[in-house]
């Protein structure tokens, strides 16, 4: 019987194909990483007229200058320099920051949680609000809800986030006084809670300082709301468009023929297909918020990696800038890889 053969040939991934999938994604990660470091290498070591000066600053003594010159191996050929650079990165050696006089890696570990906190919460808001909005808009295509969602989507797509943050501060902090101003926490609470995870809310809860938890949360409201504007707009728009696409499919008719309620038809049948496509979109959003937080952090004086990079930039602190770039780049690659993996797990068609 032909059916038997079919059932067998289509049953799950063979070990070999699974192996090649893993190898494929490893290759992607490796090549992206090499590309990323090559670019930062070019930016840091090749482009500046004097890379040593770019690193030590113009106030350094001749001794320091010479030492760094040799450390960088600037007397060696370029490919060897790149190799050494790569090896340094693998050891976690991003150089020392001029500004903080500490290893860049340590700085990054200190600043990164604030950014992660902001981007994660904003993505969460974007997903929790954007997905239902997109679904409802698609189901009610052409009606008021749909128009409102589309208008909001266009707004979120077109508004300069840093400007919106500024205006929101003016209104909710300056004029109404409903929400606290810039910063992660009120100054007088600063330094009370010992950093364990680096996320103030968690650390304060861990220490039982509920006053501080509340204060930290209230400081999160505005920046998260602002940062999530784009996420919300993008996710709602994509959800709507995916959903419309699914509603046209023939298996929607099948689901209705089976006598399912409209809710089951939409959420169990259409939405499951939408969800598969949304994984990639959510991953992209998360990644872009991680870097988009640079501007939001500037507005809200948020001590995250974006602010670290911009401050370093104005102090010509090249090691810090490039270190930050690499960390954000790696998070980018990591998130994309993760969403790719998740996609392959959820979509039966991609599993083979």
């Amino acid at each position: 019987m032909p059916e038997r053969a079919e059932a067998e040939s289509g049953s799950g991934p063979t070990p070999l194909s699974a192996l090649s999938t893993v190898a494929g994604s490893l290759l992607t990660i490796a090549s992206t990483f090499i590309g990323l470091t090559a670019v930062t290498f070019v930016i840091g070591r090749v482009m500046p007229v004097d890379p040593v000066l770019a690193i030590v600053g113009d106030r350094a003594s001749q001794d320091v200058y010479d030492r760094v010159f040799l450390e960088l191996g600037l007397d060696r050929p370029l490919y060897e320099q790149y190799w050494r650079y790569l090896m340094q990165l693998f050891r976690g050696d991003f150089g020392t920051s001029i500004m903080t006089a500490q290893p860049v890696l340590q700085d990054l570990i200190r600043f990164f949680p604030a950014t992660l906190e902001l981007a994660t919460l904003a993505t969460l808001v974007g997903v929790l609000a954007g997905v239902p909005l997109g679904v409802v808009a698609a189901v009610r295509q052409g009606r008021l809800t749909d128009h409102l969602v589309r208008i909001f989507g266009l707004f979120g797509y077109s508004v300069p986030i840093f400007w919106l943050g500024m205006v929101a501060l003016l209104i909710f902090y300056g004029a109404l006084g409903w929400l606290p101003g810039p910063g992660r926490i009120e100054v007088y609470y600063d330094g009370i809670v010992a950093p364990v995870t680096g996320f103030i809310v968690i650390d304060a809860a861990y220490a039982g300082e509920w006053e501080i938890v509340r204060n930290a949360l209230s400081h999160l409201v505005l920046p998260v709301a602002i940062l999530s504007t784009y996420a919300l707009a993008y996710i709602a728009r994509m959800t709507r468009s995916f959903m419309l696409d699914q509603l046209r499919q023939e298996y929607m008719l099948t689901a209705r023929v089976k006598g399912l309620s409209e809710r089951a038809v939409i959420w169990r049948h259409a939405f499951r297909n939408v969800l598969v496509q949304l994984i990639t979109i959510i991953g992209l959003t998360y990644a872009s918020l991680l870097e988009g937080s640079v501007l939001t952090e500037t507005i809200f004086a948020w001590p995250g990696i974006g602010q670290y990079i911009t401050h370093s930039l104005f102090n010509s602190d090249m090691n810090a800038v490039l270190g930050g770039t690499i960390v954000v780049g790696i998070s980018f690659v990591g998130i994309n890889m993760l969403s790719d993996l998740l996609y392959k797990m959820v979509d039966p068609r991609a599993r083979a």
Partner: protein, 304 residues
């Protein structure tokens, strides 16, 4: 060329059997325009973009000053009949600066487009048409750039090259070209084996000629749609760099930089940082609306 008289124009455009390639093309454009113009939102987008272009072109005639010279006697005046959008901290007319700023915005997006599209088309068509190892390598590179954090990379690049519009443009272009390569590659892949390409090759056309004359023109509509939709993102990124002080430098009336310098007056002279923000918003909204409309006309598959 004999152009049909105006009375015959309608028939020329609507006749079911076009008699020349020109007529067929005119008809296609006409029908696209009819679909497009039936969509008021898209037309609004077009009007905004046209307004931006005309403001940039006729700036000298519709402004009272070049928006650069300080006039300290009239610092921070609120909006009035004399100064529609008020004046900034150096007494410069904000309306004038916004209009002149249109030139900078247009300059940035045009420059980015002019860099990104040819590079993307070149890499994409070669990858798709030649195939094999060339395709693999080129697409691997494209993917690498696709996976880059745009703003952060722009920051790093500006850190090395120094702030300025041109460097901001290079930074943006570096992270924008890859989708165009993907579009062009997809187009080239589907066309590679088609009859008319084979025919062109049989007539002795070179690979370069085929790419340029046969494949590239067919990518144009997708590229235009994509570029229009990308414009808003480019404008926002450029404004963001300007805001961080890494794009256009003072006293250039770049909108992002205007927000940045006006920021300290937010509480008492709200108009100084608010007006440029609205300008950025309207222009990127215009490009988004236009892009959506164009996509509906040119790429009906995405019609959602």
């Amino acid at each position: 060329m004999t152009f049909p008289a105006l009375r015959g124009a309608r028939e020329y455009l609507l006749s079911g059997a076009p008699r020349s390639a020109l007529q067929a093309r005119c008809q296609r454009v006409w029908f696209s325009w009819r679909t497009f113009s039936a969509n008021p939102v898209a037309v609004a987008g077009l009007l905004i973009v046209l307004a931006l272009v005309s403001a940039a072109v006729i700036a000298p005639w519709i402004t009272g000053s070049d928006g650069l010279d300080p006039e300290l006697s009239r610092r921070l005046l609120p909006p009035s009949a004399a100064h529609w959008f008020g004046t900034d901290e150096l007494g410069r007319d904000i309306y004038d600066r916004i209009i002149w700023g249109a030139r900078i915005t247009l300059y940035i997006v045009t420059l980015v487009g002019a860099i990104v599209v040819p590079i993307g088309l070149l890499i994409g068509t070669i990858a798709g048409y030649v195939g094999g190892i060339v395709d693999t390598v080129l697409m691997r590179i494209t993917d690498i750039f696709l996976a880059f954090p745009r703003l952060i990379l722009a920051l790093a690049l500006v850190a090395a090259l120094g702030p300025g519009i041109e460097n901001a443009v290079i930074a943006i272009a570096l992270t924008t070209w890859s989708p165009y390569a993907r579009i062009a590659r997809a187009e080239a892949l589907t066309l590679r084996g088609s009859e008319f390409i084979l025919a062109a090759r049989a007539q002795g056309a070179s690979t370069g000629g085929i790419l340029l004359r046969h494949i590239t023109p067919l990518c144009v509509s997708s590229v235009i749609v994509r570029l229009t939709l990308d414009m808003a993102g480019i404008i926002l990124t450029a404004a963001g760099l300007g805001f961080l002080g890494l794009g256009a430098q003072p006293p250039t009336p770049e909108w992002g930089a205007m927000i940045s310098t006006g920021r300290q007056f937010l509480l008492d002279q709200w108009w100084v940082p608010t007006i440029p923000g609205i300008a950025i918003f309207i222009v990127s909204l215009g490009f988004n609306l236009l892009g959506d409309g164009l996509r509906d006309v040119m790429d009906p598959r995405h019609n959602a």
